[in-house]
Symmetry: C2
Subunit: 134 residues, 2 copies
Amino acid sequence: MLGHVSSPLADRSEAPRQGDEGGPEAVVRLDPDLAPALADVSVGDEVLLITWLDRGDRSVLRVHPRNDTSAPLTGVFSTRSPDRPNPLGLHQVRVLAIEGTELRVSDLEAVDGTPIVDIKSTLGPIGSRCHDRR
Amino acid sequence: MLGHVSSPLADRSEAPRQGDEGGPEAVVRLDPDLAPALADVSVGDEVLLITWLDRGDRSVLRVHPRNDTSAPLTGVFSTRSPDRPNPLGLHQVRVLAIEGTELRVSDLEAVDGTPIVDIKSTLGPIGSRCHDRR
């Protein structure tokens, strides 16, 4: 793990189910030894955080979308459920401030203490496939 | 691990450095026990594969973008280099065919044998944040 999330979200019942429902601002605290890897991330950048959703249930293969038990069970690989065999979370966030190896970010739907496993430049829009070419 | 990639790419020297440079078709072979998780993925879908780039160098914190040694060293968290502390690969691919728990997919820039760690519905375009809401 590279670090962890500090967030006002204390548990999953408070977390929005999708990023577009608006997560709160949160702080990503990384190991200070990782400073060189973070050196070219700037305030205003959009980045992808990959987290390990350690409160996910790894035995789950099908879920009711949006926790709506009237909706049909759906295979988890067609969803973004945190309950899945490898509970990786993928979060597109904007960097609001940087202090050492701590990043304040927008809209992070991950609960307090969630481990961070990677940070990447964003995928471009689907269709244009305009990946950041760095 | 959920399974692995079968690809004509035998090693990293053959792999394009970004997905938009066009990876080859490849087959994602998953553990048959995962069939229920895959049940709602259909031919034609765009999905995100997350791989573990097991040939990545986990000690690397800065890289020359595009392997161009005249380019300045850049912190890996601003890149998609496979050399990084946790070498996760993120691949947006289209499902071309499904047979049991094997998916034939387009444009996969991962070498033969690369482990698969997750499959997710795609992120929407940046800006609209139109996540798949399932």
